[in-house]
Subunit: 315 residues, 2 copies
């Protein structure tokens, strides 16, 4: 996703294309640069009016150095200076931010959290990302990689995660994990209407699982309950950590709609302590797939205005 | 614990006596007020030179209203205005803070964390309390009860906690939980040198368990490993949440010494992801049992200097 925004965060134009990370980091940079130039030109914006570029990337990152430290299973993306590679080609000052942090900032700036000061966001997609805002500021952590909330462990000695840990919430409640847990149950011989889907398509998606749960399939409902219970658990945990006013869920999996949100809320109410009444709201993002680039742009604009955190390209 | 401190945080004098919460909140207030007056008088401090009173209490609290909302199993301490009750009797401006937050601030101000800006603290005692400092500021959360880190759930559908939740780290790794888990194993017939101790004393303490682990008892070592693994898990989780530079352990259980700290560190190294090298330090508090009253006094002093957060008694 790539967007061109004005200073109020209104979207002038945006485009989307597959990342194709397998082509390596330089190919990715060159395609992103071309898309940026196309977007600027097609919308008749003078190049010198584009003041800043915000880039959201999966972590771990060095935000201060503008580098991607390591992307799971992608050898070309180790210690890669994504910020300077983009900034120098485009000759635009640039900022690198964790993608989930960017989405969190987008929802905080213009979305579900626009009227509050303390929030947490979860991106529910291939994996699970996170963002934390305390008193109106993103939490970056001591070494730029705070709020990796998908890697909080919800089960001692639990499911293996590609990050090397066991029991990360990402391995239970991401879209991929939801589909994988359903497939594992089918492999064990559990009967389900999902069996025919897998026979037809070869594999399942979380969308299949949510649809069959809504249609009343027992296994699909058990899997969805597992996903929602895990998400409720991390909502409880973040309430007891930074105590946000709101937890915002976003990412592809929220297309499941009410069935997901209602169950997360229900498990949360069931699981939370009784020492005091809690008013924290769990809700969906309102900016759809755009929160990431809106947030990245907002942070870059903020950096431009305050004169900090932006990498300035040499001429 | 009650201490009289100068403006640099040096302890002029301090005393300790059992809380005896079963005598009710007014009795507690009256005994604390008497002890404060005695401490001031015995040290020849003119009363008008005592500028502020910091009070640390278990939560949940309303810090802004200066009230204890609810103490587990103590009916007299519901919605109790501890701050004004103390302040009016002593005629000293007062501040109420969560006890673990106060300990966290003490260690941050003058203890293990005095040279860093981002830390997390765990108090390991009857229960488990927590404190979080981000960029030099305590995290209070949206509704005054953030950093209740003992109630983060480390095991879905895990052990029952007095707070009403299941699987809180407090139910696995507090001093009480460590002793309780050992007793449960004895009840199930596991052979152990702890059996004779329980026969003699009627019950076990975490101190017994750590001592017998050090002496080589298998069961005691399993129990200690369970405690340390649970603590390592929450260290992993807080690294992925607010990413502190240091996690400080304090409270009665750290008297166990190296056996506890070494094993927590070892489990942490074993459990943490491999996407990047982590430098976060896990260490013990350096102010012993004094971090709580030092931190409470420091926060009250800070409130006095900045003119905020203190309740001022009527004359």
């Amino acid at each position: 996703m790539l967007g061109l925004l004005d200073q109020d965060g209104s979207i002038i134009a945006n485009i989307s294309e597959p990342t194709q990370t397998q082509l390596g980091p330089i190919s990715l940079v060159e395609r992103m640069v071309k898309n940026c130039r196309d977007l600027i030109r097609q919308n008749n914006i003078p190049e010198d009016q584009v003041k800043a570029l915000g880039i959201g990337s999966p972590g771990p990152l060095s935000i201060s150095k503008g580098k991607v430290i390591n992307l799971c299973n992608l050898p070309g993306f180790v210690d890669f200076p994504l910020r300077s590679e983009m900034s120098q080609r485009l000759q635009i000052p640039a900022l690198l931010e964790n993608d989930a942090n960017a989405a969190c900032w987008g929802e905080f700036w213009l979305g579900a959290g626009r009227n509050i000061n303390n929030m947490v966001l979860y991106t529910l997609g291939t994996g699970i990302g996170g963002g934390i805002i305390i008193n109106g500021e993103l939490v970056h952590g001591h070494d730029d990689n705070g709020a990796e909330l998908g890697h909080m462990i919800i089960q001692t000695d639990g499911r293996y995660c590609a990050c090397g840990q066991h029991g990360c919430v990402e391995t239970y409640a991401s879209a991929n994990a939801t589909a994988a847990r359903a497939e594992e149950a089918l492999d064990q011989g559990t009967s389900s209407s999902l069996l025919a889907v897998r026979k037809r398509k070869g594999s399942l998606t979380s969308k299949d699982v949510f649809e069959h749960a809504a249609a009343g399939d027992n296994l699909a409902n058990e899997i969805v309950d597992g996903t929602c219970r895990s998400l409720a658990q991390v909502c409880v945990n973040m309430l007891h950590a930074t105590e946000p006013e709101m937890i915002v869920l976003t990412g592809g999996m929220i297309k499941a709609g009410d069935i997901l949100l209602d169950r997360v809320r229900s498990f949360f109410r069931h699981m939370i302590w009784n020492l005091k009444a809690e008013t924290m709201e769990i809700c969906y993002a309102t900016l759809g797939d755009n929160s990431g680039f809106i947030g990245a742009a907002g942070l870059a604009l903020d950096g431009f205005r305050k004169g900090h955190r932006l990498y300035s390209p040499g001429v």
